[in-house]
């Protein structure tokens, strides 16, 4: 929505050296560090285009960054240029369709917490909006409260980054990842040309895709031929026969273009949200309960898990740290916890679900007394504090150990398997962890058979054994029909796992699809696959 007469920006003033004071832009939340010579902070699509055109002439690698909250090092530079989109954080417009649904268009740097706050307060900045958007905004004020459902733990994530890695969160159990909630986007290609995509408008024929840029250029590409796993998945390009073109971009880890505009489908906020924490004397009971809860609860928005080690870490934190002293205390003897979030149309429906949960607990021999039901804001906040305290406490523990041995870091898995393999994959984790003699804590999205198993290395030897273990899990999870990355994306840290999951031939197909849109292989170098897959393109073919 730039004024038409705006002068074309000149890239020279926008690209600056990545000097020591900007060192933070060489890192992200994955705690890895990269190198780059220059950086830019564009504030409009026109500036993004000008910068990319200038860099394209010399084939300079470009790493796109948002809020740098990713855990797979997708935003860590790999030489060349860093394009940071955090200043592109405007709200651009609102649309309402015939069914009454709302669609909000934002720039990629809009931060999730800000989006949530503005939707809750119905206070969306509307500077420069057209009449249709302003009309929709007036309708939003009188409509039932709307929300954006994707809820990664890190709410300082930005919408561009969440789209690039197809982010998820606890509520993805019900709402799925980012993908279904992105209805349109604009993608600037490496040469500065633009693809404008809207869901439903351009589909592949089988695995062949024909795209047309806004300048009228035709781009044809052959999509990779692999079949994706039938489970939660953020591993590599999304491909299937006759797919919607927009789905190739969502989850492409910044390797195909730079997102400059994203339209999000909003969802009516639930009338009633209750959180229920259930505790078990054994992991097996918790897994059995999970399978029953999945079958019986139609209104569950999230099914989350904490193993006995994670509960022990919280018990210790509660006793030793003032900041955690208000944590709710898990029942004595609890060795596993399953948290259920219910989102219902009214309290009677929520109460009926609570009765169903009580029935499940009885069936697996667990106790309905030692449970927590959060029905008030204060109690919901207490449960959220409890859930978020687990990763935070583990990070603190690792930081403490790093002081003794700086070579170690946290090793967290992000794999998922189909429903019927839940018991198998947990058995795999437990057996191999015990064999390797490694300390661990596991938590995460058990409703999607997606646990973050965190290895807590005591020294460099543990760290090496842990990495080896993960490589083995990647092979086994692939055999189970699972995904090596279910929500964090592959980035730079998990590309070895992606090679295990799909094999070199399919990675070559991915590289060829990328090179059709980014012929010099400039964008997101090192993400998804090793850059040797890009060299010469055809050499691998």
């Amino acid at each position: 929505m730039q004024p038409a007469q705006e002068a074309v920006p000149r890239a020279e003033g926008l690209i600056r050296p990545l000097t020591a004071d900007l060192d933070g832009y060489r890192r992200d939340e994955s705690r890895s560090t990269g190198e780059a010579e220059t950086i830019s902070f564009p504030e409009s699509e026109e500036e993004v285009r000008a910068i990319l055109r200038a860099l394209h002439a010399d084939g300079v690698p470009v790493t796109v960054q948002g809020a740098r909250t990713g855990l797979a090092a997708g935003a860590v530079p790999h030489g060349g240029h860093v394009m940071n989109l955090s200043r592109m954080n405007r709200y651009l417009g609102l649309r309402r369709d015939g069914s009454g649904a709302f669609f909000l268009t934002v720039e990629p740097g809009v931060v999730l917490s800000d989006l949530r706050k503005r939707l809750k307060a119905r206070d969306v900045p509307s500077d420069g909006w057209d009449d249709a958007s302003l009309r929709a905004l007036r309708e939003l004020a009188d409509a039932p409260e709307q929300m954006f459902p994707t809820d990664p733990t890190e709410s300082s994530a930005c919408i561009g980054g969440m789209t690039a890695c197809n982010a998820s969160g606890a509520r993805s159990y019900r709402y799925g990842p980012m993908r279904p909630h992105v209805t349109a986007l604009r993608l600037v290609l490496a040469d500065g040309d633009v693809l404008a995509m809207r869901r439903g408008e351009v589909r592949a024929r089988g695995r062949s895709l024909a795209l047309r840029t806004v300048s009228g250029r035709e781009i044809s590409l052959e999509l990779p031929t692999y079949e994706m796993p039938r489970c939660k998945n953020a591993s590599g390009y999304y491909v299937e026969d006759d797919m919607d073109a927009i789905d190739l971009v969502i989850g492409s880890d910044g390797t195909l273009g730079v997102l400059t505009r994203i339209e999000l489908a909003l969802t009516p906020a639930p009338a009633v949200t209750w959180g229920v924490s259930t505790f078990y004397a054994s992991e097996r009971s918790a897994l059995d309960a999970t399978e029953r809860l999945r079958a019986e609860l139609a209104d569950a928005a999230a099914l989350e898990y904490f193993d006995g080690a994670a509960l022990d870490i919280l018990r210790r934190q509660r006793d030793s740290s003032a900041a955690f002293s208000s944590l709710a205390e898990p029942p004595a003897g609890a060795r596993a916890c399953v948290y259920v979030e219910l989102q219902c149309t009214d309290e009677a429906a929520a109460l009926a679900d609570v009765r169903r949960i009580a029935g499940v607990l009885r069936a697996v021999g667990s106790d309905a007394d030692g449970t927590w039901v959060a029905r008030t804001e204060v109690d919901r906040e207490a449960l959220q504090f409890f859930r978020h305290a687990v990763p935070e406490s583990v990070n603190m523990l690792i930081d403490e150990r790093r002081r003794a041995d700086p070579s170690i870091t946290k090793l967290g898995s992000d794999m998922a398997v189909p429903d019927e393999r839940l018991h198998d994959v947990v058995e795999l984790y437990r057996r191999t962890l015990a064999e390797a003699g490694l300390e661990s804590a596991a938590w995460g999205h058990i409703g999607n058979n997606h646990l973050h198993v965190n290895i807590l290395p005591r020294d460099a030897g543990d760290y090496a054994r842990g990495k080896e273990l993960f490589a083995g899990w990647a092979r086994e999870v692939t055999r189970m029909g699972g995904a090596v990355s279910a929500e964090h994306g592959v980035g730079k840290l998990k590309r070895g796992f992606l090679e295990t999951m799909y094999g070199p031939e399919h990675l070559r197909e991915m590289a060829r699809a990328k090179l059709a849109l980014d012929p010099l292989g400039q964008l997101g170098r090192g993400n998804l696959f090793d850059e040797t897959y890009l060299e010469g393109g055809e050499r691998h073919g």
């Binding site: 229920v276 259930t278 109460l351 009580a358 927590w372 039901v373 804001e377 204060v378 109690d379 207490a382």
Partner: protein, 269 residues
């Protein structure tokens, strides 16, 4: 404690769940329409102290009854049921249009009638204050009405044994431990305890629990001593302070700038 049961009554108040409240332009009191009401956080701490005493006594095999009592609109019953879900034994709601508009004195009279209805009570716990009214008067006024000793601003419980309550209370510049013979009244600070969450069993049991509801005549109230009619306090005006800020650049010589500042200050007066 004749039969060995310790009876604790906890007074709770429904307060708005957010700071966005409506005021009645006629009476200048808060419009209580039940929208997103919550238990006053100070009262929640008082309830947890009571439940903690009950737990400790249960571990030694001695029984405790924890009653919650409130004066409020009919929908306050659901908050009282939530207190039962968290472990309270029973609940009493005083509700009648005749109770509306009460100041702290008229509220105290109504609560005292409710407490009388509960029978012998060994310990009355209140929150130190309510987050909407901020008066901190109900507990001490209740002690006066019931002619009982009173501890205010309880930060933690030291012991609640047969016949006596020992508690750590806030005093100027620190805390002190006080001991009161029972029966007694105590008001509780927010940081004294964090109210437990209800369990599934508690939630389901509370659904079938009865909240006793009492109107003014049922409570035996004198209409002249309750509600607006029984309130000597008159709220003349209440308002939310409006925050305004603006900036203006002042130029010119030092003398001109000083004159401009003096002018601004004068206009503000």
């Amino acid at each position: 404690m004749a039969d060995g049961t310790l009876h604790i009554a906890v007074c709770v108040k429904a307060v708005p769940g957010s700071t966005d409240v409506r005021m009645d332009p006629e009476t200048n009191t808060i419009v209580r329409d039940g929208g997103a009401a919550v238990v006053n956080p100070f009262d929640a701490s008082a309830l947890e102290l009571a439940l903690g005493i009950a737990d400790a006594r249960a571990a030694s095999g001695v029984p405790t009854r924890v009653s919650v009592v409130s004066m409020g609109i009919p929908s306050t019953a659901s908050l009282l049921r939530d207190c039962i879900a968290r472990g309270a034994t029973d609940a009493l709601l005083l509700t009648d249009r005749a109770f509306a508009g009460a100041d702290t004195l008229a509220t105290t009279r109504a609560l005292a009638l409710g407490l009388a209805r509960l029978g012998r009570v060994d310990l009355v716990l209140c929150g130190k204050m309510a987050v909407d009214g901020d008066t901190a008067q109900i507990g001490p006024e209740l002690a006066g009405a019931l002619d009982l000793p009173c501890a205010v601003d309880v930060r933690g419980l030291v012991a609640c044994s047969e016949g006596a309550l020992r508690a750590r209370v806030g005093i100027d510049g620190g805390t002190a431990v006080v001991e009161l013979p029972l029966p007694a009244v105590a008001t509780v600070a927010k940081e004294a305890a964090r109210l437990r969450m209800p369990s599934i069993s508690g939630v389901l049991a509370a659904e079938g629990a009865e909240v006793e509801v009492l109107d003014a005549s049922g409570a035996g109230a004198d209409p002249a001593r309750i509600g607006l009619a029984g309130s000597p306090t008159q709220v003349v005006r209440s308002f939310v302070p409006e925050q305004r800020s603006s900036a203006r650049e002042i130029g010119g010589t030092a003398r001109e700038q000083a004159a401009a500042v003096a002018d601004i200050v004068e206009r503000m007066a």
